[in-house]
């Protein structure tokens, strides 16, 4: 699969431009060396051996940009510029020396692009509050600007304004960015901007050229990114902070290319090799001066950027974290609060899912409770409950999470110099990432978070803090009430009509709404029998069985092994769901698919009872690509029988892997009906509900 995808990332510049592929793509470190070399060679051939002429060339090509009626030219130029954009990948592959860093670069740079945009499009203050981003901005501005100065060193004014002017063709996004960049630059280099820069330019150009010749030799490739490459080569032995700064610079430069590509402009790539080197060096120097603050600045800015980023691409699903992608895992680990230990014998097919040792981290986290810096205690508590498995079930988890967020919102106060909308979004984002570390989110939680973030984002900025908080709190309350509590009641009313006297109902696992249905039908005086089917290792059915028997329902308890034996007398199967996807696939406790298939074979109708907020527009065909793995130990030992311990030291056997799956996907063919608060619908109507009700669910 990799080998099929990789050439595409190298060759097709459009894929690069779109930007989504990057995050899902395998890290460039695994590039096919042949293609990379080939492209590098061609790129080298394209770029002239002499660097100065190269710069001049690009500078000249830039010059028409300054003449106002560019608008018509821009598409053509855009086409031209796609060449360098595409071929800058080889240079990236040159950087392949440290794979982990590239892994970071790849997925994140679109994010940084937005952050750059965000930081500047906001107030100047906001931009200044993120030292990291302001550094990037300088660079952004100068990629274009420096080349211009070179060209027409007398007209400093032109140099200052041109980036803005030219970018205007490209579209508002890039436009804002470069104007912002212009201002940042303003601040930093007050008066003798142009002269100083001109001098620097000359110096650096020569320096860089020399360096290039030594280090890179003939493999010099791209006009712009080779700048980054050289910096990298240069600094191979630098400190961590420096390396980080380089990364930042690279990201920003990539971001620029991205933006430009989108807007039909490629100012940045015309910047020429030498200037971009100089820029990066400059950034480097800056960051060396203050590498502490920059690091924090960079991270905080990343969080801020996440949400609008999502907002913009809401229609395109975010790629999930793949845990077989070493680079991303490492990166995630560095940020993680919860230190999870990799399980020893991981199941090969499910390597893309987190497989951790269970148990050891809990006491440690509990002890850390009083040393929390940025996680609200109630969120922390809920996270630990997820981790320990105290709270399970889609509804309960979602409700607890929302209540914790509610607490956090009550205790929230906007820090000085910050905007509530952005700061709170980033706060929630950090809470969510903590919760994900504890246990992967369920679809219901994901939808609830999406709702909450949307509500935060929709807050008008002149709403006072207390007003905003009370609105959000009431939103959270309303979500819990409307989407969970009332929805359950309506589902019960619908589903009860399908229970008739003398029925035998089969239930599996423990679903709160199914329990409510049965109890309600019993209260109505309907005479029916319940077949409670259970499975190891959770044995959740027992809890439900106890509750039902206490209420006086007549029950039969059996394990899933006997399902084909008991199915013939069953009239109707009631099942809960963790999520329902838009192709009608039901994502539920492992074993549900088996029950549904057997029921289908026996022509027994299968009813899925599920609140509409658990619907998701994603489509999934199997239960492999997205699932959760539980503790393998619980399936290896038999509770209550200490003498049965054939799998005692299973982890020592290299060729033995235990698989404890949490969920499975039931194809829609086996589902007769889905009962939601919007009525009883066939599984084919899930996308309609997602479309029709999703709108007001998330936007209101």
């Amino acid at each position: 699969m990799d080998s099929r995808r990789l050439p595409r990332t190298v060759i097709d510049p459009k894929v690069r431009l779109v930007g989504f592929f990057t995050s899902g793509d395998p890290p460039p470190a695994r590039f096919n060396p042949n293609t990379a070399d080939a492209t590098a060679a061609t790129a080298a051939a394209i770029s002239s051996s002499s660097q100065n002429s190269d710069i001049n060339l690009t500078g000249n090509s830039l010059s028409p940009v300054m003449i106002p009626p560019l608008r018509r030219m821009s598409p053509r130029r855009c086409d031209e510029m796609q060449m360098p954009i595409g071929s800058y990948n080889p240079s990236e592959s040159l950087l392949g020396t440290s794979p982990s860093r590239r892994g970071i670069n790849g997925p994140d740079f679109s994010e940084v692009a937005t952050s750059a945009w965000l930081g500047i499009s906001g107030s100047m203050k906001a931009a200044a509050s993120f030292p990291g981003s302001s550094g990037e901005m300088m660079m952004v501005g100068k990629n274009g600007g420096n080349a211009l100065v070179k060209n027409m060193d007398t007209t400093e004014l032109a140099a200052k304004t041109v980036p803005g002017v030219t970018e205007k063709d490209g579209g508002t996004l890039t436009d804002m960015k470069n104007e912002g960049a212009g201002t940042v630059r303003h601040q930093k280099q007050m008066t003798t901007r142009a002269e100083r820069r001109a001098i620097q330019e000359a110096q650096r150009a020569s320096k860089a050229a020399a360096m290039m010749d030594e280090k890179d030799g003939g493999t010099r490739t791209d006009i712009k990114n080779e700048g980054a490459g050289t910096v990298r080569h240069q600094k191979q032995t630098t400190t961590k902070a420096e390396r980080r700064a380089i990364q930042e610079a690279q990201r920003a430069s990539k971001a620029v290319t991205m933006m430009d590509g989108k807007g039909g402009k490629s100012i940045a790539s015309t910047g020429g090799g030498a200037p971009s080197i100089s820029n990066q060096e400059k950034v480097l120097k800056q960051s060396q001066k203050k590498d502490g603050p920059q690091e924090t600045g960079a991270t905080s800015e990343k969080k801020v950027s996440r949400n609008p980023d999502k907002d913009r691409k809401k229609d395109i699903p975010q790629p999930r974290m793949q845990f077989d992608d070493k680079n991303r895992v490492e990166k995630a680990k560095r940020r993680a609060v919860v230190n999870q230990f990799e399980a020893r014998n991981r199941v090969e097919l499910f390597r893309h899912l987190p497989q951790y040792e269970h148990g050891p981290q809990l006491p440690y986290l509990e002890s850390k409770f009083f040393h929390l810096d940025n996680i609200h205690p109630s969120v922390y508590k809920v996270g630990l409950k997820y981790l320990s498995g105290t709270i399970t079930g889609g509804n309960a988890r979602c409700q607890e999470m929302l209540l914790a967020f509610r607490e956090a919102i009550i205790d929230y106060s906007t820090p000085p110099e910050k905007v509530l909308v952005r700061d709170l979004t980033s706060k929630i984002g950090s809470y969510v990432s903590f919760l994900i570390e504890c246990r992967p989110l369920s679809v219901s939680m994901g939808n609830a978070i999406r709702f909450l973030k949307n509500r935060v984002a929709k807050l008008h900025h002149n709403v006072s803090e207390s007003e905003a908080k009370s609105r959000l709190i009431s939103d959270v309350d309303r979500f819990i009430n409307e989407k969970i509590i009332v929805a359950d009641q309506i589902i019960v009313q619908h589903a009860v009509t399908k229970i008739r006297d003398g029925d035998v109902l089969l239930i599996y696992g423990y679903s709160t709404v199914v329990e409510m249905i049965l109890l309600h039908a019993h209260e109505q005086g309907k005479q029916f029998r319940v077949m409670v089917v259970d499975s190891r290792p959770k044995l959740e059915g027992k809890i439900l069985l106890r509750k039902l028997v206490m209420k006086g329902l007549s029950c039969t308890y059996t394990h899933i092994n006997a399902i084909s034996y008991v199915m013939h007398e069953v009239k109707c199967v009631f099942l809960g769901a963790s999520a329902i996807l838009s192709n009608g696939t039901v994502f539920s406790r492992v074993g549900t698919a088996c029950i549904a298939m057997v029921a289908h074979a026996f022509r027994v109708p299968v009813l899925i009872c599920c609140e509409a907020y658990k619907f998701h527009e994603r489509v999934q065909l199997d239960s492999i690509c997205s699932n959760e793995l539980g503790n393998p130990d619980v399936i290896s030992n038999v509770p209550g029988k200490e003498d049965v311990n054939h799998l005692a030291n299973w982890a020592d056997h290299k060729n033995l892997q235990l698989l404890n799956l949490f969920y499975d996907a039931t194809p829609s063919d086996y589902v007769s009906m889905i009962v939601t608060e919007h009525g009883m619908v066939p599984p084919t109507s899930v996308p309609v509900i997602v479309r029709e009700y999703g709108k007001d669910q998330f936007i209101f």
Partner: protein, 370 residues
């Protein structure tokens, strides 16, 4: 949703024959007085049966008067449903429109509440009719949507509702024409069509196809026990279409020479399946087995928010069945008038919304009742 348990306020359905079925019998069937008498005799267990006839007399009166208290929406409905060529849903909507006219409510809210009550009584009067409840729901839906227009003053809104209700008959006829236009494209020259039951929409489709000089042949099932097939074949024969009559049990025998199956529907349910005259399900099954397309012609006002899981999941519409000979004592008779055909056995639905696959029905319903 499932009106099973509701008490039926009108005693006329207590004698075992569903009002829904009576309408059908009067509209579609070869109703012979002798079998009506026979049917009546068959159900004399409940001796005291208030006849339908006095009610008709009463309706005329109440209609003429149209006064608030004396007005009965059920009588009104009964008046309308006697009219030939008027679908039951339309009759229900007409009745509700008449109710609005006679209503003395002064605010939209009040009117809505009263109307809700009226439609509930109407629905519970005949729990077996799907198109009745679908029609009521549809009209209620329209009322609640219209009343959202708050700028309008009450009288204008009321007038608009009445107008809408009274236009509904027209809309229904237009729907039938639309369906005929859509459906006749599927009839190709030299095709053999199997029809079951008497459906005005299917007849319209075939009429239009015949008038477009399409050469096709129709096989009509007999449609026991009310012999709806006889009447249908009669209509077709008058159009000059070659017709062959089959007994109901000969469906599988003749299926291999059939090109497509055309049926109407009493109701189209949320799953995309249909509820139709008894025997539709088995015909659909046989057709599915032999890979023949099954087309359903139904107006969109027959779409009902019902979701039967299986055949027994619906209130049965009881009808009389005469076997010609006395039934041996101690033998039960299945007297349900209709069955449920699940969506997987249907190919396409011809509706006034267009030619739909069964799964779209639910989408349309969701959007309608959003």
């Amino acid at each position: 949703m499932e009106p099973n348990n509701l008490p039926n306020p009108n005693p006329s359905t207590d004698h075992g024959i569903s009002a829904y079925y009576q309408t059908r019998a009067e509209h579609h069937a070869v109703v012979t007085s002798d079998w009506l008498a026979q049917a009546q005799a068959a159900v004399t267990r409940n001796a005291a049966v208030p006849e339908v006839l006095p009610k008709i007399a009463a309706t005329g009166g109440s209609r003429a008067a149209g006064s608030g208290k004396a007005f009965s929406v059920i009588d009104e409905f009964n008046y309308w449903r006697k009219k030939p060529d008027l679908a039951e849903a339309v009759a229900a909507i007409m009745a509700l429109a008449a109710f609005i006219r006679s209503s003395e409510a002064t605010t939209m809210m009040e009117l809505e509440i009263e109307l809700k009550k009226a439609s509930d009584t109407l629905k519970s009067w005949d729990t077996t009719s799907i198109s009745l409840s679908a029609g009521c729901d549809l009209f209620m839906r329209y009322v609640t949507r219209t009343s959202a227009l708050e700028y309008e003053d009450f009288n204008a809104a009321k007038l608009r509702l009445i107008e809408r209700g009274e236009k509904f008959g027209e809309i229904s006829l237009k729907a039938r024409r639309t369906i005929a236009m859509l459906g006749q494209d599927f009839v190709f020259d030299g095709s053999t069509i199997l029809v079951h039951g008497y459906s005005r929409v299917v007849l319209e489709v075939l009429k239009l196809a015949a008038s477009n000089r399409k050469m096709f042949r129709v096989l009509c099932t007999e449609g026991r026990p009310d012999r709806t097939g006889l009447r249908f074949s009669n209509e077709l024969a008058q159009l000059g279409v070659p017709v062959k009559l089959l007994i109901d049990s000969a469906v599988a025998y003749t299926m291999d020479e059939v090109d497509m199956v055309f049926v109407g529907a009493d109701g189209v349910v949320e799953s995309g399946g249909i509820i139709n005259m008894m025997g539709t399900y088995q015909i659909a099954l046989v057709a599915h087995c032999m890979n023949k397309p099954v087309y359903v012609a139904a107006e969109s006002y027959k779409f009902a928010r019902l979701y039967p899981l299986d055949q027994k999941d619906l209130a049965p519409a009881i009808r009389p069945i005469e076997f010609g000979v006395p039934i041996p004592s101690g033998v039960e008779v299945e007297r349900n008038a209709r069955d449920y055909t699940p969506p997987q056995y249907l190919t396409l639905l011809f509706t006034d919304l267009g030619v739909l696959t069964p799964s779209v029905v639910s989408d349309e319903l969701i959007q309608l009742y959003l």
